[in-house]
């Protein structure tokens, strides 16, 4: 038994690092299209996503992947606004709460590895900004 699921990534760098963001971009475009379908004729202007630091997403690579994945979709040309959610840990040893830059699971206060992540694993589409198409053309339409 053999299953093929080839996807086209026109001219894009196929390194694993890029593919990581690309897979997320593809899922994101699907989600935006679902919103757009509920508002027939609308133009998607932008989408706001919240991405936690533990996800190790490189914003520029995600934006690049989004541009490619969105081509020929309802999200084509839309701006991607990426809100970074910092990594917050609570240490189960010393109880300290800390914000860390790197996705390394160590309490900066006491060095313990026994920490609980309070935030940082977010991967969320928060909102989509659309312009309705049915109304008489708004003046800022190009």
């Amino acid at each position: 038994m053999f299953i093929r699921a080839f996807r086209r990534v026109a001219g894009a760098d196929r390194s694993a690092a890029f593919m990581h963001e690309y897979a997320i971009a593809e899922a994101l475009v699907e989600q935006i299209e679902r919103v757009a379908r509920e508002h027939p004729g609308c133009t998607v202007r932008s989408a706001v996503v919240a991405i936690g630091g533990l996800r190790r997403i490189v914003p520029d690579i995600l934006r690049f992947g989004f541009e490619i994945a969105a081509a020929d979709s309802a999200a084509a040309g839309a701006d991607l606004v990426i809100e970074h959610v910092p990594i917050r840990f609570r240490c189960n040893g010393c109880n300290a709460e800390s914000v860390v830059d790197e996705a390394i699971y160590l309490c900066p206060a006491c060095g313990s590895g026994d920490v609980t992540a309070l935030s940082g694993d977010e991967l969320m589409l928060k909102s989509v900004d659309i312009e309705d198409g049915q109304d008489s053309g708004s003046p800022e339409h190009p």
Binding site: R4, A5, I24, A27, V35, R55, K126
Partner: protein, 217 residues
């Protein structure tokens, strides 16, 4: 302009399908492990060492996911084990919907263990639920001893770690103690199996653990 609030996990569609996979497997009484590791870590070699030792003890089937070719599936077929090959093309991981599709061509009523070899990659497969019962991290000594802290998503979530190619330790600067300390820092209790698919060292202990897991179900 209207702001439409969504507040949805970007991977939600995948997670819903992973839930369907999990339900089907649970109903059939199958425990499914998702083998995750870098390209060449020895995921297929580990299965080649494991499957013959399971014969007559634990009926198993395999799903092989690679970007291209059916080579890994051919290697598994040689052991007379049912295998489905998934080619993901440029995809860096296997998504849940392809696993769901693969289940249709496996004899679920005859197996107790399903091994899914994910695409060689330490990042994306760790983030994507495919309906597995647990993730097995496969890492080889030639990748260096600093991986648990660098890829904490995988090492925190996995239910066992297989450290492969221990036969090569004398030829590398791999420090086993540092690896273990790093691993314990991100996942204190996870079972660790140091093995060599070349010499067979350590494989039996891993296989006994695996069989023990399915017995506990």
């Amino acid at each position: 302009m209207a702001k439409i609030p969504v507040l949805q996990n970007i991977l939600e569609a995948n997670e819903a399908i992973a839930g369907q996979v999990r339900q089907r497997l649970e109903r059939a009484g199958i425990i499914a492990y998702n083998f995750i590791g870098a390209p060449g870590a020895g995921k297929t070699s580990l299965l080649e060492q494991t499957l013959p030792r399971l014969r007559d003890r634990l009926p198993a089937a395999v799903i092989e996911a690679d970007c291209a070719t059916a080579r890994d599936a051919e290697r598994i077929k040689a052991f007379g084990v049912e295998v489905v090959q998934i080619n993901t093309g440029s995809g860096c991981h296997v998504p849940a919907h392809l696993v769901l599709l693969a289940l249709d061509s496996l004899p679920l009523e005859r197996i107790r263990l399903l091994a899914i070899e994910n695409v060689g990659n330490l990042i994306c497969p760790a983030e994507l639920d495919i309906g597995e019962s647990g993730k097995i991290a496969v890492i080889s000594v030639t990748e260096g001893d600093d991986k648990p802290q660098k890829y904490p998503m995988l090492f925190r979530q996995c239910c066992a770690v297989v450290l492969n190619k221990v036969d090569l330790i004398p030829h590398t600067d791999f420090r086993r103690e540092r690896f273990e300390n790093d691993l314990r820092a991100v996942n204190a209790g996870v079972p660790l199996f140091g093995i060599s698919c070349r010499t067979g060292e350590g494989v039996d202990a891993w296989v006994e653990w695996l069989i023990g897991q399915t017995a506990r179900e």
